[in-house]
Symmetry: C2
Amino acid sequence: MLKMKKKISERTIERLSIYRRYLKEIQAQGKSRVYSHELAKVVSGTAAQVRRDLMEVGCNGCSSKGYEVESLIIEIGDLLDCSEVENVALVGVGNLGRAVLGFFSGKKENFDIVAAFDSNPDKCGRIICGRRCYHMDDLQEVFQKNRISTAILAVPVEEAEKVAKTLVEAGVRAILNFAPTHLTVNNDVFIHTLDMTMELEKTIFFSRQNLNLKEG
Amino acid sequence: MLKMKKKISERTIERLSIYRRYLKEIQAQGKSRVYSHELAKVVSGTAAQVRRDLMEVGCNGCSSKGYEVESLIIEIGDLLDCSEVENVALVGVGNLGRAVLGFFSGKKENFDIVAAFDSNPDKCGRIICGRRCYHMDDLQEVFQKNRISTAILAVPVEEAEKVAKTLVEAGVRAILNFAPTHLTVNNDVFIHTLDMTMELEKTIFFSRQNLNLKEG
DNA sequence: TTTTGGTTGTTAATTTTTTCACGTTGTGCA
DNA sequence: TGCACAACGTGAAAAAATTAACAACCAAAA
Ligand SMILES: NC(=O)c1ccc[n+]([C@@H]2O[C@H](COP(=O)([O-])OP(=O)(O)OC[C@H]3O[C@@H](n4cnc5c(N)ncnc54)[C@H](O)[C@@H]3O)[C@@H](O)[C@H]2O)c1
Ligand SMILES: NC(=O)c1ccc[n+]([C@@H]2O[C@H](COP(=O)([O-])OP(=O)(O)OC[C@H]3O[C@@H](n4cnc5c(N)ncnc54)[C@H](O)[C@@H]3O)[C@@H](O)[C@H]2O)c1
Protein backbone atom coordinates (compact mmCIF):
# COMPACT_ATOMS: atom_id res chain seq x y z
CA MET A 1 0.00 0.00 0.00
CA LEU A 2 1.22 3.46 -0.86
CA LYS A 3 1.86 5.52 2.17
CA MET A 4 -0.62 8.33 2.62
CA LYS A 5 1.16 11.54 1.85
CA LYS A 6 0.02 14.36 4.01
CA LYS A 7 -0.76 17.26 1.78
CA ILE A 8 1.50 20.25 2.03
CA SER A 9 0.17 23.76 1.87
CA GLU A 10 0.85 26.03 -1.06
CA ARG A 11 2.44 28.54 1.27
CA THR A 12 4.89 25.99 2.59
CA ILE A 13 5.87 24.96 -0.91
CA GLU A 14 6.53 28.58 -1.81
CA ARG A 15 8.76 29.04 1.17
CA LEU A 16 10.63 25.79 0.59
CA SER A 17 11.48 26.95 -2.89
CA ILE A 18 12.79 30.20 -1.50
CA TYR A 19 14.78 28.47 1.22
CA ARG A 20 16.42 26.35 -1.42
CA ARG A 21 17.35 29.31 -3.55
CA TYR A 22 18.99 30.90 -0.53
CA LEU A 23 20.65 27.66 0.53
CA LYS A 24 22.27 27.27 -2.85
CA GLU A 25 23.41 30.85 -2.63
CA ILE A 26 25.15 30.42 0.70
CA GLN A 27 26.46 27.02 -0.32
CA ALA A 28 28.23 28.72 -3.21
CA GLN A 29 29.70 31.09 -0.65
CA GLY A 30 31.07 28.16 1.29
CA LYS A 31 28.64 28.03 4.20
CA SER A 32 27.84 24.48 5.22
CA ARG A 33 25.37 25.07 8.05
CA VAL A 34 22.42 27.34 8.57
CA TYR A 35 20.07 28.27 11.41
CA SER A 36 16.32 28.49 11.21
CA HIS A 37 16.40 32.15 12.07
CA GLU A 38 18.63 32.84 9.10
CA LEU A 39 16.17 31.16 6.77
CA ALA A 40 13.37 33.03 8.48
CA LYS A 41 14.78 36.37 7.44
CA VAL A 42 14.75 35.35 3.79
CA VAL A 43 11.00 34.79 3.81
CA SER A 44 10.24 37.52 6.34
CA GLY A 45 8.98 34.88 8.72
CA THR A 46 9.83 33.41 12.07
CA ALA A 47 12.26 30.70 13.07
CA ALA A 48 9.39 28.56 14.32
CA GLN A 49 7.73 28.71 10.96
CA VAL A 50 10.90 27.64 9.24
CA ARG A 51 11.32 24.68 11.54
CA ARG A 52 7.74 23.71 10.93
CA ASP A 53 8.20 23.93 7.17
CA LEU A 54 11.32 21.83 7.41
CA MET A 55 9.44 19.19 9.36
CA GLU A 56 7.53 18.56 6.15
CA VAL A 57 10.67 17.53 4.36
CA GLY A 58 11.72 15.32 7.24
CA CYS A 59 13.87 17.52 9.37
CA ASN A 60 17.26 16.58 10.57
CA GLY A 61 18.57 19.71 12.09
CA CYS A 62 21.01 19.53 14.86
CA SER A 63 20.74 21.39 18.12
CA SER A 64 23.11 24.29 18.28
CA LYS A 65 24.64 23.51 14.91
CA GLY A 66 21.50 24.17 12.91
CA TYR A 67 20.85 22.49 9.59
CA GLU A 68 23.34 21.12 7.15
CA VAL A 69 23.03 23.15 3.98
CA GLU A 70 23.86 20.40 1.55
CA SER A 71 21.48 17.80 2.88
CA LEU A 72 18.74 20.36 3.24
CA ILE A 73 19.08 21.22 -0.43
CA ILE A 74 18.83 17.55 -1.28
CA GLU A 75 15.83 16.95 0.92
CA ILE A 76 13.93 19.95 -0.36
CA GLY A 77 14.75 18.72 -3.84
CA ASP A 78 13.40 15.28 -3.02
CA LEU A 79 10.13 16.88 -2.12
CA LEU A 80 9.83 19.56 -4.77
CA ASP A 81 11.46 18.02 -7.79
CA CYS A 82 10.55 15.16 -10.02
CA SER A 83 12.90 12.26 -10.31
CA GLU A 84 13.95 13.45 -13.75
CA VAL A 85 14.38 16.96 -15.08
CA GLU A 86 10.93 18.35 -15.78
CA ASN A 87 10.40 19.41 -19.35
CA VAL A 88 8.50 22.66 -19.66
CA ALA A 89 7.07 24.37 -22.73
CA LEU A 90 6.66 28.07 -23.36
CA VAL A 91 3.63 29.07 -25.37
CA GLY A 92 3.64 32.58 -26.78
CA VAL A 93 7.03 33.96 -27.65
CA GLY A 94 6.26 37.65 -27.39
CA ASN A 95 7.94 40.28 -25.25
CA LEU A 96 7.35 38.49 -22.01
CA GLY A 97 7.81 35.01 -23.41
CA ARG A 98 11.20 35.84 -24.85
CA ALA A 99 12.34 37.29 -21.54
CA VAL A 100 11.17 34.20 -19.70
CA LEU A 101 12.80 31.92 -22.23
CA GLY A 102 16.09 33.70 -21.90
CA PHE A 103 15.86 33.64 -18.15
CA PHE A 104 15.08 29.97 -17.67
CA SER A 105 16.31 27.93 -20.57
CA GLY A 106 19.38 25.95 -19.73
CA LYS A 107 19.77 27.66 -16.37
CA LYS A 108 18.04 25.31 -13.96
CA GLU A 109 18.90 21.80 -12.97
CA ASN A 110 15.46 20.59 -11.91
CA PHE A 111 13.48 21.81 -14.89
CA ASP A 112 14.06 23.22 -18.35
CA ILE A 113 12.15 24.95 -21.09
CA VAL A 114 12.70 22.53 -23.93
CA ALA A 115 10.36 23.92 -26.56
CA ALA A 116 8.58 27.13 -27.47
CA PHE A 117 5.41 27.62 -29.48
CA ASP A 118 3.86 30.53 -31.29
CA SER A 119 1.14 31.01 -33.85
CA ASN A 120 3.06 33.68 -35.70
CA PRO A 121 4.73 32.03 -38.71
CA ASP A 122 7.62 34.50 -38.54
CA LYS A 123 8.64 33.09 -35.21
CA CYS A 124 8.17 29.41 -35.98
CA GLY A 125 11.06 27.29 -37.10
CA ARG A 126 13.57 29.68 -35.62
CA ILE A 127 15.82 29.12 -32.66
CA ILE A 128 15.11 31.65 -29.93
CA CYS A 129 17.36 31.83 -26.89
CA GLY A 130 18.71 28.42 -27.82
CA ARG A 131 15.31 26.79 -28.01
CA ARG A 132 13.36 25.86 -31.09
CA CYS A 133 10.10 27.67 -31.67
CA TYR A 134 7.45 25.40 -33.14
CA HIS A 135 4.17 26.20 -34.74
CA MET A 136 1.10 25.56 -32.65
CA ASP A 137 0.10 22.79 -35.01
CA ASP A 138 3.03 20.71 -33.80
CA LEU A 139 2.19 21.16 -30.16
CA GLN A 140 0.59 17.82 -29.47
CA GLU A 141 3.37 15.91 -31.17
CA VAL A 142 6.21 17.79 -29.49
CA PHE A 143 4.52 17.51 -26.11
CA GLN A 144 4.27 13.77 -26.41
CA LYS A 145 7.74 13.28 -27.79
CA ASN A 146 9.29 15.33 -24.99
CA ARG A 147 6.96 14.24 -22.22
CA ILE A 148 6.02 17.83 -21.47
CA SER A 149 3.45 18.18 -18.73
CA THR A 150 3.94 21.77 -17.66
CA ALA A 151 3.47 24.88 -19.79
CA ILE A 152 4.09 28.58 -19.38
CA LEU A 153 1.35 30.52 -21.08
CA ALA A 154 2.29 33.96 -22.39
CA VAL A 155 -0.14 34.65 -25.20
CA PRO A 156 -2.45 37.67 -25.47
CA VAL A 157 -5.32 37.59 -23.04
CA GLU A 158 -7.90 37.10 -25.79
CA GLU A 159 -6.17 33.91 -26.89
CA ALA A 160 -5.44 32.49 -23.47
CA GLU A 161 -8.58 30.45 -22.90
CA LYS A 162 -8.43 28.88 -26.33
CA VAL A 163 -4.76 28.04 -26.10
CA ALA A 164 -5.21 26.64 -22.59
CA LYS A 165 -7.80 24.27 -23.99
CA THR A 166 -5.31 23.13 -26.62
CA LEU A 167 -2.74 22.54 -23.91
CA VAL A 168 -5.12 20.47 -21.85
CA GLU A 169 -5.95 18.40 -24.88
CA ALA A 170 -2.26 17.82 -25.41
CA GLY A 171 -2.10 16.35 -21.91
CA VAL A 172 -0.60 19.17 -19.92
CA ARG A 173 -1.03 18.83 -16.17
CA ALA A 174 -0.11 22.32 -15.01
CA ILE A 175 -0.04 25.79 -16.51
CA LEU A 176 1.70 28.89 -15.28
CA ASN A 177 -0.50 31.55 -16.82
CA PHE A 178 0.66 35.12 -17.37
CA ALA A 179 -2.47 36.28 -19.15
CA PRO A 180 -4.60 38.32 -16.79
CA THR A 181 -7.67 36.14 -16.97
CA HIS A 182 -9.19 33.24 -15.16
CA LEU A 183 -8.84 30.03 -17.13
CA THR A 184 -11.61 27.51 -16.78
CA VAL A 185 -10.34 24.09 -17.68
CA ASN A 186 -10.62 20.52 -16.65
CA ASN A 187 -10.48 20.16 -12.91
CA ASP A 188 -7.37 18.08 -12.55
CA VAL A 189 -5.13 20.50 -14.37
CA PHE A 190 -3.38 22.83 -11.99
CA ILE A 191 -3.61 26.44 -13.13
CA HIS A 192 -1.53 29.10 -11.52
CA THR A 193 -2.26 32.56 -12.80
CA LEU A 194 0.41 35.12 -12.14
CA ASP A 195 -1.24 38.48 -12.54
CA MET A 196 1.39 41.19 -12.61
CA THR A 197 -1.12 43.98 -12.61
CA MET A 198 -2.56 42.65 -9.42
CA GLU A 199 0.90 42.31 -7.92
CA LEU A 200 1.70 45.89 -8.78
CA GLU A 201 -1.63 47.21 -7.54
CA LYS A 202 -1.04 45.38 -4.30
CA THR A 203 2.40 46.90 -4.00
CA ILE A 204 1.04 50.36 -4.58
CA PHE A 205 -1.74 49.81 -2.08
CA PHE A 206 0.59 48.75 0.68
CA SER A 207 2.96 51.59 -0.02
CA ARG A 208 0.16 53.86 1.15
CA GLN A 209 -0.93 51.48 3.87
CA ASN A 210 2.51 51.55 5.43
CA LEU A 211 2.36 55.31 5.39
CA ASN A 212 -1.00 55.26 7.12
CA LEU A 213 0.24 52.90 9.77
CA LYS A 214 3.12 55.23 10.50
CA GLU A 215 0.89 58.24 10.70
CA GLY A 216 -2.04 56.65 12.53
CA MET B 1 -9.90 62.77 14.25
CA LEU B 2 -9.10 60.40 11.44
CA LYS B 3 -11.25 57.33 11.52
CA MET B 4 -9.41 54.17 12.44
CA LYS B 5 -9.04 52.14 9.30
CA LYS B 6 -9.30 48.46 9.94
CA LYS B 7 -6.42 46.81 8.23
CA ILE B 8 -7.20 44.65 5.23
CA SER B 9 -5.41 41.41 4.58
CA GLU B 10 -3.02 40.99 1.69
CA ARG B 11 -5.15 38.17 0.38
CA THR B 12 -8.25 40.31 0.25
CA ILE B 13 -6.42 43.08 -1.58
CA GLU B 14 -5.23 40.56 -4.15
CA ARG B 15 -8.74 39.34 -4.75
CA LEU B 16 -10.21 42.83 -4.92
CA SER B 17 -7.76 43.65 -7.68
CA ILE B 18 -8.84 40.55 -9.56
CA TYR B 19 -12.53 41.24 -9.05
CA ARG B 20 -12.01 44.67 -10.52
CA ARG B 21 -10.24 43.35 -13.56
CA TYR B 22 -13.12 41.01 -14.18
CA LEU B 23 -15.73 43.67 -13.48
CA LYS B 24 -14.21 45.97 -16.07
CA GLU B 25 -14.19 43.08 -18.49
CA ILE B 26 -17.89 42.32 -18.12
CA GLN B 27 -18.73 46.00 -18.01
CA ALA B 28 -17.17 46.33 -21.45
CA GLN B 29 -19.39 43.47 -22.50
CA GLY B 30 -22.42 45.39 -21.33
CA LYS B 31 -23.22 43.57 -18.09
CA SER B 32 -24.39 45.92 -15.38
CA ARG B 33 -24.94 43.52 -12.48
CA VAL B 34 -23.00 40.63 -11.04
CA TYR B 35 -23.51 37.96 -8.38
CA SER B 36 -21.05 36.96 -5.71
CA HIS B 37 -20.83 33.45 -7.08
CA GLU B 38 -19.75 34.79 -10.46
CA LEU B 39 -16.93 36.71 -8.85
CA ALA B 40 -16.09 33.65 -6.80
CA LYS B 41 -15.31 31.62 -9.87
CA VAL B 42 -12.77 34.18 -11.04
CA VAL B 43 -10.68 33.74 -7.90
CA SER B 44 -11.48 30.05 -7.46
CA GLY B 45 -13.19 30.87 -4.21
CA THR B 46 -16.61 30.75 -2.65
CA ALA B 47 -19.48 33.21 -2.80
CA ALA B 48 -19.24 33.75 0.94
CA GLN B 49 -15.65 34.80 0.60
CA VAL B 50 -16.50 37.28 -2.10
CA ARG B 51 -19.24 38.85 -0.02
CA ARG B 52 -16.86 39.07 2.86
CA ASP B 53 -14.23 40.76 0.74
CA LEU B 54 -16.79 43.22 -0.54
CA MET B 55 -17.79 44.11 2.99
CA GLU B 56 -14.36 45.67 3.27
CA VAL B 57 -15.14 48.13 0.53
CA GLY B 58 -18.54 48.91 2.04
CA CYS B 59 -20.87 46.56 0.33
CA ASN B 60 -24.05 47.68 -1.30
CA GLY B 61 -25.26 44.62 -3.07
CA CYS B 62 -28.90 44.07 -3.54
CA SER B 63 -30.72 40.89 -2.70
CA SER B 64 -31.54 38.90 -5.77
CA LYS B 65 -30.12 41.51 -8.12
CA GLY B 66 -26.54 41.11 -6.95
CA TYR B 67 -24.03 43.92 -7.15
CA GLU B 68 -24.01 46.84 -9.53
CA VAL B 69 -20.91 46.49 -11.65
CA GLU B 70 -20.22 50.15 -12.12
CA SER B 71 -20.44 51.20 -8.50
CA LEU B 72 -18.43 48.18 -7.42
CA ILE B 73 -15.62 49.23 -9.74
CA ILE B 74 -15.72 52.71 -8.25
CA GLU B 75 -15.75 51.47 -4.69
CA ILE B 76 -12.90 49.05 -5.19
CA GLY B 77 -11.03 51.90 -6.82
CA ASP B 78 -11.69 54.13 -3.82
CA LEU B 79 -10.04 51.55 -1.66
CA LEU B 80 -7.17 50.41 -3.86
CA ASP B 81 -6.21 53.52 -5.75
CA CYS B 82 -4.65 56.78 -4.73
CA SER B 83 -6.55 59.96 -5.32
CA GLU B 84 -4.27 60.78 -8.22
CA VAL B 85 -2.65 58.52 -10.77
CA GLU B 86 0.29 56.82 -9.09
CA ASN B 87 3.60 57.43 -10.79
CA VAL B 88 5.77 54.36 -10.97
CA ALA B 89 9.39 53.96 -12.06
CA LEU B 90 11.02 51.01 -13.75
CA VAL B 91 14.61 50.33 -12.79
CA GLY B 92 16.54 48.01 -15.06
CA VAL B 93 15.50 48.07 -18.69
CA GLY B 94 16.65 44.61 -19.72
CA ASN B 95 14.66 41.79 -21.25
CA LEU B 96 12.09 41.67 -18.49
CA GLY B 97 12.05 45.39 -17.86
CA ARG B 98 11.30 46.18 -21.48
CA ALA B 99 8.45 43.69 -21.54
CA VAL B 100 7.00 45.18 -18.38
CA LEU B 101 7.41 48.70 -19.70
CA GLY B 102 5.61 47.83 -22.90
CA PHE B 103 2.88 46.10 -21.00
CA PHE B 104 2.09 48.81 -18.47
CA SER B 105 3.07 52.19 -19.78
CA GLY B 106 0.10 54.23 -20.83
CA LYS B 107 -2.28 51.33 -20.42
CA LYS B 108 -3.65 51.78 -16.93
CA GLU B 109 -5.77 54.55 -15.50
CA ASN B 110 -4.83 54.24 -11.84
CA PHE B 111 -1.06 54.09 -12.23
CA ASP B 112 1.56 54.63 -14.88
CA ILE B 113 5.22 53.96 -15.45
CA VAL B 114 6.47 57.48 -16.05
CA ALA B 115 10.22 56.91 -16.09
CA ALA B 116 12.76 54.17 -16.63
CA PHE B 117 16.31 53.92 -15.34
CA ASP B 118 19.33 51.89 -16.32
CA SER B 119 23.01 52.00 -15.62
CA ASN B 120 23.94 51.09 -19.17
CA PRO B 121 24.83 54.30 -21.02
CA ASP B 122 23.58 52.83 -24.29
CA LYS B 123 20.06 52.72 -22.92
CA CYS B 124 20.04 56.11 -21.22
CA GLY B 125 18.66 59.15 -22.94
CA ARG B 126 16.60 57.04 -25.28
CA ILE B 127 12.85 56.69 -25.41
CA ILE B 128 11.82 53.09 -24.83
CA CYS B 129 8.22 52.08 -25.25
CA GLY B 130 7.26 55.73 -25.10
CA ARG B 131 9.05 56.37 -21.84
CA ARG B 132 12.34 58.12 -21.31
CA CYS B 133 15.17 56.06 -19.93
CA TYR B 134 17.33 58.00 -17.51
CA HIS B 135 20.72 57.29 -16.09
CA MET B 136 20.79 56.09 -12.52
CA ASP B 137 22.54 59.32 -11.55
CA ASP B 138 19.35 61.24 -12.28
CA LEU B 139 17.18 58.97 -10.20
CA GLN B 140 16.82 61.10 -7.12
CA GLU B 141 15.97 64.18 -9.13
CA VAL B 142 13.44 62.50 -11.40
CA PHE B 143 11.81 60.76 -8.46
CA GLN B 144 11.28 64.03 -6.66
CA LYS B 145 10.14 65.94 -9.71
CA ASN B 146 7.58 63.26 -10.58
CA ARG B 147 6.58 62.35 -7.04
CA ILE B 148 7.44 58.73 -7.66
CA SER B 149 6.98 56.52 -4.64
CA THR B 150 6.77 53.08 -6.19
CA ALA B 151 9.42 51.29 -8.23
CA ILE B 152 9.63 48.10 -10.23
CA LEU B 153 13.05 46.56 -9.79
CA ALA B 154 14.33 44.48 -12.70
CA VAL B 155 18.09 44.60 -12.43
CA PRO B 156 20.41 41.58 -12.20
CA VAL B 157 20.26 39.84 -8.88
CA GLU B 158 23.78 40.87 -7.93
CA GLU B 159 22.81 44.52 -8.26
CA ALA B 160 19.41 44.35 -6.61
CA GLU B 161 20.36 45.04 -3.03
CA LYS B 162 22.51 48.01 -3.96
CA VAL B 163 19.92 49.51 -6.27
CA ALA B 164 17.19 48.98 -3.70
CA LYS B 165 19.24 51.02 -1.27
CA THR B 166 19.46 53.80 -3.81
CA LEU B 167 15.72 53.68 -4.27
CA VAL B 168 15.06 53.91 -0.57
CA GLU B 169 17.36 56.87 -0.35
CA ALA B 170 15.42 58.51 -3.13
CA GLY B 171 12.30 58.20 -0.99
CA VAL B 172 10.57 55.22 -2.54
CA ARG B 173 7.87 53.69 -0.36
CA ALA B 174 7.29 50.40 -2.15
CA ILE B 175 9.25 48.12 -4.49
CA LEU B 176 8.02 45.34 -6.71
CA ASN B 177 11.15 43.25 -6.94
CA PHE B 178 11.75 40.76 -9.75
CA ALA B 179 15.26 39.83 -8.69
CA PRO B 180 15.24 36.47 -6.94
CA THR B 181 16.69 37.66 -3.69
CA HIS B 182 15.52 38.94 -0.35
CA LEU B 183 16.03 42.67 -0.02
CA THR B 184 16.82 43.97 3.41
CA VAL B 185 15.92 47.61 3.61
CA ASN B 186 14.42 50.10 5.95
CA ASN B 187 11.40 48.73 7.71
CA ASP B 188 8.76 51.10 6.46
CA VAL B 189 9.39 50.42 2.80
CA PHE B 190 7.07 47.75 1.46
CA ILE B 191 8.96 45.16 -0.53
CA HIS B 192 7.14 42.65 -2.63
CA THR B 193 9.40 40.12 -4.26
CA LEU B 194 7.91 38.28 -7.18
CA ASP B 195 10.02 35.19 -7.66
CA MET B 196 9.16 33.58 -10.97
CA THR B 197 11.34 30.57 -10.34
CA MET B 198 9.42 29.88 -7.18
CA GLU B 199 6.13 30.31 -8.99
CA LEU B 200 7.19 27.86 -11.64
CA GLU B 201 8.54 25.35 -9.15
CA LYS B 202 5.27 25.55 -7.28
CA THR B 203 3.37 24.97 -10.49
CA ILE B 204 5.48 21.94 -11.31
CA PHE B 205 5.09 20.57 -7.81
CA PHE B 206 1.33 20.79 -7.85
CA SER B 207 1.15 19.26 -11.28
CA ARG B 208 2.47 16.10 -9.68
CA GLN B 209 0.49 16.58 -6.50
CA ASN B 210 -2.76 16.64 -8.47
CA LEU B 211 -1.74 13.42 -10.07
CA ASN B 212 -1.07 11.84 -6.72
CA LEU B 213 -4.40 12.93 -5.38
CA LYS B 214 -6.11 11.30 -8.31
CA GLU B 215 -4.22 8.09 -7.84
CA GLY B 216 -4.31 7.99 -4.05
C1' DT C 1 -51.69 39.20 -2.49
C1' DT C 2 -48.99 35.35 -1.29
C1' DT C 3 -45.63 32.18 -2.30
C1' DT C 4 -41.32 30.69 -4.20
C1' DG C 5 -36.60 30.97 -5.23
C1' DG C 6 -32.46 32.95 -4.96
C1' DT C 7 -29.19 36.59 -3.15
C1' DT C 8 -27.17 39.70 0.27
C1' DG C 9 -25.01 41.05 4.93
C1' DT C 10 -23.36 39.27 8.86
C1' DT C 11 -22.48 36.39 12.76
C1' DA C 12 -20.94 31.97 14.18
C1' DA C 13 -18.34 27.85 13.40
C1' DT C 14 -14.66 25.66 11.33
C1' DT C 15 -10.38 25.05 9.33
C1' DT C 16 -5.86 26.48 8.40
C1' DT C 17 -1.80 28.85 9.51
C1' DT C 18 1.22 30.92 12.53
C1' DT C 19 3.27 31.61 16.87
C1' DC C 20 4.42 30.29 21.52
C1' DA C 21 6.55 27.52 24.88
C1' DC C 22 9.27 24.21 26.58
C1' DG C 23 11.57 19.65 27.05
C1' DT C 24 15.53 17.76 24.61
C1' DT C 25 19.96 17.75 22.64
C1' DG C 26 24.48 18.87 20.96
C1' DT C 27 28.56 22.14 21.71
C1' DG C 28 32.01 24.54 23.93
C1' DC C 29 34.33 25.87 27.88
C1' DA C 30 35.91 25.78 32.63
C1' DT D 1 33.08 15.98 33.80
C1' DG D 2 29.57 19.25 34.49
C1' DC D 3 27.45 23.62 33.38
C1' DA D 4 25.72 27.23 30.45
C1' DC D 5 24.03 28.25 26.14
C1' DA D 6 21.63 28.16 22.02
C1' DA D 7 19.08 25.79 18.72
C1' DC D 8 15.92 22.04 17.42
C1' DG D 9 11.28 19.37 17.36
C1' DT D 10 6.80 19.50 18.51
C1' DG D 11 2.38 19.79 21.07
C1' DA D 12 -0.56 23.45 22.49
C1' DA D 13 -2.34 28.04 22.02
C1' DA D 14 -3.45 31.87 19.33
C1' DA D 15 -4.52 34.19 15.29
C1' DA D 16 -6.12 34.45 10.75
C1' DA D 17 -8.71 32.96 6.97
C1' DT D 18 -12.34 30.47 5.11
C1' DT D 19 -16.76 28.41 5.11
C1' DA D 20 -21.35 27.65 6.84
C1' DA D 21 -25.68 29.29 8.26
C1' DC D 22 -29.49 32.11 8.41
C1' DA D 23 -32.51 36.25 8.79
C1' DA D 24 -33.82 39.86 5.80
C1' DC D 25 -34.81 41.14 1.36
C1' DC D 26 -36.24 41.51 -3.49
C1' DA D 27 -38.35 40.05 -7.79
C1' DA D 28 -41.23 37.44 -10.26
C1' DA D 29 -44.73 34.08 -10.68
C1' DA D 30 -48.95 32.11 -9.18
N1 LIG E 1 4.82 41.92 -21.20
C1 LIG E 1 4.63 41.88 -19.89
O1 LIG E 1 5.44 42.33 -19.13
C2 LIG E 1 3.40 41.28 -19.32
C3 LIG E 1 3.08 41.56 -18.01
C4 LIG E 1 1.97 40.97 -17.45
C5 LIG E 1 1.19 40.15 -18.21
N2 LIG E 1 1.49 39.93 -19.48
C6 LIG E 1 0.63 39.03 -20.23
O2 LIG E 1 1.43 38.05 -20.84
C7 LIG E 1 0.92 37.74 -22.10
C8 LIG E 1 1.98 38.00 -23.15
O3 LIG E 1 2.41 39.32 -23.07
P1 LIG E 1 3.43 39.91 -24.12
O4 LIG E 1 3.73 41.26 -23.69
O5 LIG E 1 4.56 38.98 -24.31
O6 LIG E 1 2.53 39.95 -25.44
P2 LIG E 1 3.06 39.90 -26.95
O7 LIG E 1 1.96 40.41 -27.80
O8 LIG E 1 4.37 40.56 -27.03
O9 LIG E 1 3.28 38.37 -27.23
C9 LIG E 1 2.25 37.48 -27.47
C10 LIG E 1 2.79 36.34 -28.30
O10 LIG E 1 1.81 35.33 -28.40
C11 LIG E 1 1.72 34.91 -29.74
N3 LIG E 1 0.37 34.41 -29.97
C12 LIG E 1 -0.76 35.10 -30.24
N4 LIG E 1 -1.80 34.29 -30.37
C13 LIG E 1 -1.32 33.03 -30.20
C14 LIG E 1 -1.93 31.77 -30.24
N5 LIG E 1 -3.24 31.62 -30.42
N6 LIG E 1 -1.15 30.70 -30.03
C15 LIG E 1 0.16 30.85 -29.81
N7 LIG E 1 0.78 32.03 -29.77
C16 LIG E 1 0.04 33.11 -29.96
C17 LIG E 1 2.03 36.12 -30.56
O11 LIG E 1 2.48 35.75 -31.85
C18 LIG E 1 3.12 36.76 -29.73
O12 LIG E 1 4.37 36.27 -30.08
C19 LIG E 1 -0.30 38.60 -22.29
O13 LIG E 1 -1.44 37.90 -21.94
C20 LIG E 1 -0.09 39.73 -21.33
O14 LIG E 1 -1.30 40.23 -20.87
C21 LIG E 1 2.58 40.47 -20.06
N1 LIG F 1 13.80 37.75 -17.81
C1 LIG F 1 12.93 37.12 -17.05
O1 LIG F 1 11.96 36.59 -17.56
C2 LIG F 1 13.09 37.05 -15.59
C3 LIG F 1 12.35 36.14 -14.88
C4 LIG F 1 12.45 36.10 -13.50
C5 LIG F 1 13.31 36.96 -12.86
N2 LIG F 1 14.03 37.84 -13.56
C6 LIG F 1 14.90 38.74 -12.84
O2 LIG F 1 14.65 40.05 -13.26
C7 LIG F 1 15.86 40.76 -13.30
C8 LIG F 1 16.07 41.30 -14.69
O3 LIG F 1 16.10 40.23 -15.61
P1 LIG F 1 16.42 40.45 -17.11
O4 LIG F 1 16.26 39.17 -17.81
O5 LIG F 1 15.67 41.63 -17.63
O6 LIG F 1 17.98 40.82 -17.07
P2 LIG F 1 18.80 41.67 -18.12
O7 LIG F 1 20.22 41.39 -17.90
O8 LIG F 1 18.23 41.50 -19.46
O9 LIG F 1 18.51 43.18 -17.71
C9 LIG F 1 19.07 43.79 -16.60
C10 LIG F 1 19.11 45.28 -16.86
O10 LIG F 1 19.53 45.95 -15.68
C11 LIG F 1 20.52 46.91 -16.03
N3 LIG F 1 21.37 47.12 -14.87
C12 LIG F 1 22.41 46.36 -14.47
N4 LIG F 1 22.93 46.86 -13.33
C13 LIG F 1 22.22 47.96 -13.05
C14 LIG F 1 22.30 48.91 -12.01
N5 LIG F 1 23.20 48.82 -11.03
N6 LIG F 1 21.42 49.92 -12.01
C15 LIG F 1 20.51 50.02 -13.00
N7 LIG F 1 20.39 49.15 -14.00
C16 LIG F 1 21.24 48.13 -14.02
C17 LIG F 1 21.24 46.33 -17.19
O11 LIG F 1 21.87 47.36 -17.96
C18 LIG F 1 20.11 45.66 -17.96
O12 LIG F 1 19.49 46.56 -18.85
C19 LIG F 1 16.95 39.81 -12.86
O13 LIG F 1 17.17 39.98 -11.49
C20 LIG F 1 16.34 38.46 -13.10
O14 LIG F 1 16.85 37.53 -12.21
C21 LIG F 1 13.94 37.90 -14.92
